[in-house]
């Protein structure tokens, strides 16, 4: 096995001489220690490991924060962590109790040194091996006390795969600290033109990382994990004393994919302008239950919040031990039969909607997709296209190597998370695509909105253009004149999966957005840019009002425009 790996390593390494030597050292150290652990690690009366997986997270990060044209903080540094997964027992019953995809992780030296990488892996492996030996004993004992169906008893704990050797090229980065600092300061200076806003900040975050993966089965993978964002945040106080804080983040897979400075300036300016206008808008003055048209990014959470959870499309095997971390946090929820897994073959969405996983897609309509990946965190290559929901009917879950009764195979969907402290993996999509069969134009949808409202004898209907906590930008539309008025303080009841089974109208135009699953895994979604729902509840947010500070905001004090 060792020789096999070594010869494959040579094929794997790229042309760049520096990278070649660096990668070679890292892989050789990981592989040598993995094989030593597999073959030699044993304590008296305890089985040897049956599986060892080493991950090394390596790269650099740059974070710049600025306010009103001045740098608050710059954090630029290399980052390297290592993590170990280890199983004792054969794959039918392994020592894994909580199935949470975590690696036992620790910081690594940023300098590449064969001996040091091995020492770090050796020490962490030893800790985990001893831990797992007690886990296996506990799990075996628990299983003996349980009544299991023949299917449950036959379900393996870990599925076998064909090991692969693969190196995926990542994006190129600029990461010029001085240049970026100048740009971020230019962007944050825009808020000087908005004296009613305060605590404003512009933040740039660039992460150029690679994961190195070596398993005792023979998998050797290097894959990029690239994420960058520029975001802005600010607070505003309304006349009656309610404080609102809003923010946006523009995610891209590399800093070279950011829009031009002119476009970024326009975006920040628009954000500041919208927040200022929002504070001056009238308060919603009614409880509303009726048709609502959701536009642009407000459509996204309908899919991400309903589909990308362990109750949605992401398989999560129930923890064996209620005392394990996942057991403590999730109780019986993981493995609950309320999940989509138990609704395969049933209608779960409107019949015009089809949801696919297309992880190889790199770009859509000019948007570089952050969720693009070619191999998952377990060294499994996902299908180029996998239909998850076909014309509204639930078909398949996304899964990794931990099978469940309804999702017995991996779909290559176990993804590495970006985390500075631990190496973690989780089932998550790369690029999710919500296709629409048919659909209407935006004008048609607006006309339908008015029609539905009139049919309900309503004077007004609503169009939502932005949702972020209690900052919901929505327009009250007069059904007779079509006049639109911005209102605020609106609490919009979240749209449930059930509501998406019968949708009043869907746009025939799709947009793409990048986002983070569980706040840590880069993903993308392509989705219709407007959805009209018939019964949505909107009410007034209950907020507190504070008296105005006796100290005037310095921007207003100085008489800025």
């Amino acid at each position: 096995m060792k020789k096999y790996l070594l010869s494959l390593l040579t094929l794997l390494l790229g042309a760049n001489l520096y990278a070649q030597s660096n990668d070679e050292i890292i892989f050789k150290a990981m592989q040598d220690e993995a094989m030593r652990s597999l073959n030699e690690l044993q304590v008296e009366n305890v089985q040897k490991p049956s599986f060892v997986s080493y991950a090394l997270f390596d790269g650099r990060t740059l974070n710049i924060q600025s306010s009103l044209g001045a740098t608050i903080q710059i954090d630029e540094r290399p980052l390297r962590n290592h993590g170990v997964q280890l199983l004792i027992g054969d794959y039918s019953c392994t020592s894994d109790c909580d199935y949470n995809g975590r690696y036992l992780s620790n910081k690594s030296a940023v300098e590449t040194d064969y001996g040091q990488i091995r020492r770090e892996l050796w020490f962490t492996t030893d800790l985990l091996y001893k831990n797992k030996s007690t886990d296996l004993a506990g799990k075996t004992s628990l299983r003996k006390q349980r009544i299991m169906s023949p299917e449950e008893a036959a379900l393996p704990d870990f599925v076998t795969i064909e090991p692969i050797v693969k190196s995926v090229e990542g994006y190129e980065f600029d990461m010029n600290r001085t240049e970026w600092e100048k740009k971020v300061n230019e962007l944050s200076a825009i808020f000087q033109n908005y004296p009613k806003l305060y605590d404003s900040k512009v933040e740039l975050d660039i992460n150029d990382f690679n994961y190195y993966l070596v398993t005792s089965e023979g998998t050797v993978v290097k894959q990029p994990m690239n994420v960058a964002f520029i975001g802005a945040s600010a607070s505003v106080r309304t006349e009656e004393g309610t404080e609102y804080t809003d923010q946006f983040r523009l995610y891209v897979p590399t800093d070279l994919a950011f829009p031009s400075m002119d476009e970024l300036k326009k975006k920040v300016d628009e954000f500041a302008k919208n927040l200022t206008a929002f504070a001056e808008a009238p308060v919603i003055d009614e409880f509303y239950s009726g048709p609502v048209l959701f536009l642009d990014e407000t459509v996204m959470p309908m899919f991400t919040k309903n589909l990308l959870t362990s109750e949605g499309l992401l398989t999560q095997r129930k923890a064996e031990d209620i005392n394990s971390m996942i057991g403590l946090f999730w109780g019986d929820m993981a493995g609950s039969k309320k999940t989509l897994e138990y609704r395969i073959g049933q209608r779960v969405l409107d019949s015009r909607l089809t949801v696919k996983h297309t992880p190889f897609l790199k770009e859509y309509d000019g948007v570089k997709l952050m969720g693009h990946y070619e191999v998952d965190a377990e060294g499994v290559v996902p299908a180029e296209e996998l239909v998850l929901i076909d014309t509204g009917i639930m078909c398949t879950m996304l899964n990794g190597r931990i099978p469940t009764l309804k999702s017995p195979n991996t779909t290559g969907s176990q993804r590495f998370a970006i985390d500075e402290d631990v190496i973690a993996t989780s089932v998550a999509p790369g690029v999710l695509r919500v296709d629409v069969n048919g659909g209407q134009t935006r004008e048609e949808l607006e006309a339908q909105l008015i029609k539905l409202a009139k049919a309900d004898n309503m004077k007004y209907a609503y169009i939502v253009t932005r949702m972020n906590g209690n900052i919901n930008l929505l327009y009250k539309v007069d059904v007779n004149t079509g006049e639109k008025t911005l209102v605020r303080k609106a609490d919009i009841t979240p749209v449930s999966l059930g509501q998406l089974k019968k949708i009043a109208g869907i746009s025939n135009h799709a947009i793409a957005s990048n986002f983070m699953v569980k706040g840590a895994i880069p993903a993308s979604i392509i989705y219709p840019d407007a959805i009209l729902l018939e019964n949505v509840e909107i009410s007034e947010f209950d907020t507190t009002q504070d008296k105005v500070s006796p100290l005037q905001n310095p921007l207003e004090r100085d008489g800025a425009n």
Binding site: A70, I72, D126, L551, L555, R557
Partner: protein, 560 residues
């Protein structure tokens, strides 16, 4: 042209050392203006402050870390934080009555650090300051009303002193750091640390072999509504080396080396550090097979650094006056001024003005404390008699003036804290004499041996009333000294514990050699740099308990 301007600027700076602060530092100007505006505006409200101060802490921090000869980390970070203090009510009773911090804190977390922009962008700086002043002012009003209500329904504290006192208004200005002072030869120290930590590879039983270095330049600004204006610089360079082994029974055995200087160039030579590391490795190797100590009471000798930590924990923390205002504090010494607390030949003082002691730079040095009061040497114990406490502008019944010991880290408000604590004896013994005294005492107590604590990791103490008023010092290197002349025996696995008052009465003699322990001390006002210096001492009776240990056995496979 640029060179000429620079030369001129340096010349002007040297010719005008007493130029008014406004001509010297834009940050000081801005703080003064903003504070003036805030005081004026807030004085028109129904909750006018009677006092305010603004603190700004600028740090530039270099960190290098190496492990087993490989570079682990090498970073540089700059930050600027802002901490306003707003006092409502009056000197007699204000919103800090019995409280340390002007923002909400919990058992789990202290105040959040508020970072403000670097550079001199006035608009950005003013708005960041304005935002935090608003936050703290809001909390100040709520807290003040709560405290006033509490006065009506709860018992009053024993201490009747006011909540705040007068202090001399000071103006002090250090020139901003020069490029030479800020410079850090990163490559040189990366190589050095790699060299030191690589020495641990020589011993296969060592599981942790690290060398780290930090070089921090701190510039602190303090401006008060009374007119104080201070800008003070401090530098600290520290090398810390740690090696650790694991015994077959799971016990982790760490040993540390620590070097401190204000200037990185003043660190000891490679020869000295390498020799120290090699000695540390040899000691660790012996400790691995050393016997475990059973719980013990009896005589002991504490080497200077161990003794310094011992005094810092059992003694120093109990002389921090501000805490004594609170009835939940143990107030060990509050009513003991004028009484004998140590043997008559022992004295103790705390001196923030001490910059260097017997060739060692002192980490607890500062000119002004965090309430803008000049740090003063305080005679705490004179010939065994308790004379003074470490005071702040929060007075107690016993001491109504600050002696410049109000200290805090970023985000926190200050409280009484130690700086450079020094223990002295006017009847010093040689080490040989001290050893004889120890053996004599052991014999008198019919002990087969006594203990000698050479090296400690640190310690902690509890001064409150809800838990035993005890201390714990964590020794790293301990020897048995046999009364029958057998060679000293290295042992392992003990903590030094006890209660303070019984310990003071047990101290017998001190040596003619003083050692300095350099550390960072954590308490209710955050982490502050300190030193604790003491001669080696002999104590009639110490108590030792087994130290906690991991259940993890040593790694099953040899270290690669």
């Amino acid at each position: 042209m640029r060179t000429k301007f620079l030369c001129l600027a340096v010349l002007l700076g040297s010719l005008l050392p007493f130029a008014p602060a406004s001509a010297q530092d834009p940050m000081l100007d801005l703080l003064r203006d903003e504070l003036k505006y805030d005081m004026e505006q807030l004085s028109k409200t129904e909750n006018p402050p009677y006092y305010m101060n603004f603190r700004v802490i600028e740090t530039s921090q270099n960190v290098v870390r190496a492990t087993f000869g490989t570079l682990q980390e090498s970073t540089f970070k700059e930050a600027r934080s802002f901490i306003p203090q707003i006092r409502l009510g009056s000197y007699d009773f204000d919103n800090f009555h019995g409280m340390v911090n002007g923002v909400p804190t919990s058992w789990f977390s202290g105040p959040s650090t508020v970072y403000i922009p670097m550079g001199n962008n006035e608009k950005a700086l003013r708005q960041a300051m304005w935002s935090e002043v608003n936050n703290r002012y809001k909390f100040a009003i709520e807290q003040y009303e709560r405290l006033k209500a509490a006065e009506k329904v709860y018992t009053k504290t024993d201490d009747k002193a006011p909540d705040f006192s007068d202090a001399k208004v000071e103006k002090y200005f250090d020139q901003p750091f020069t490029q030479e002072e800020l410079a850090f030869d990163r490559q040189k120290f990366e190589e050095k640390l790699k060299k030191y930590s690589a020495l641990f590879l020589k011993n296969p039983h060592i599981i942790t072999g690290e060398a780290s270095m930090s070089y921090v330049c701190t510039r602190k600004y303090f401006v008060s509504s009374e007119g104080a204006e201070i800008a003070e610089n401090n530098r600290s360079a520290r090398i810390f080396i740690t090696g650790m082994m694991k015994t077959d029974d799971g016990m982790e055995l760490p040993l540390n080396l620590s070097y401190f200087a204000f200037d990185p160039d003043d660190m000891p030579s490679d020869e000295k550090i390498i020799a120290d590391v090699e000695h540390l490795i040899a000691t660790l190797d012996k400790m691995r097979t050393a016997p475990i100590v059973e719980p013990y009471t009896g005589p002991a000798m504490l080497a200077g650094e161990a003794s310094g930590v011992f005094f810092h924990e059992i003694f120093g923390h109990r002389t921090e006056a501000q805490r004594m205002k609170n009835d939940s504090d143990g107030q060990t010494f509050k009513k003991m001024i004028g009484q004998q607390v140590l043997p008559k030949h022992f004295s103790a003082y705390d001196d923030p003005t001490l910059k260097n002691f017997e060739g060692q730079d002192m980490n607890g040095y500062y000119v002004f404390d965090d309430q803008g009061v000049r740090g003063q040497r305080v005679e705490i114990v004179d010939n065994g008699t308790l004379k003074g406490f470490l005071t702040t502008r929060v007075p107690t019944d016993e001491f109504n003036q600050s002696n410049g010991h109000a200290r805090a880290s970023a985000a926190y408000d200050p409280a009484s804290r130690q700086s450079n604590l020094l223990i002295t004896t006017d009847k010093p013994k040689t080490m040989e004499q001290l050893r004889k005294i120890l053996i004599k005492e052991a014999k008198a107590q019919k002990k087969e041996y006594a203990y000698y604590f050479v090296n400690v990791n640190g310690g902690y103490t509890q001064t409150g009333r809800t838990s035993p008023n005890a201390f714990n010092v964590t020794p790293l290197e301990v020897y048995r000294i046999y009364v029958d002349g057998r060679p000293d025996e290295l042992v392992r696995g003990v903590d030094l514990i006890g209660t303070p008052l019984s310990m003071f009465s047990s101290i017998i003699e001190g040596s003619d050699k003083t050692s300095v322990f350099t550390g960072i001390c954590g308490a209710e006002s955050g982490w502050v740099p300190v030193t604790a210096s003491s001669p080696d001492i002999v104590v009639k009776k110490v108590e030792m308990q087994r130290k906690s240990k991991s259940m993890q056995t040593p790694p099953a496979l040899p270290r690669p």
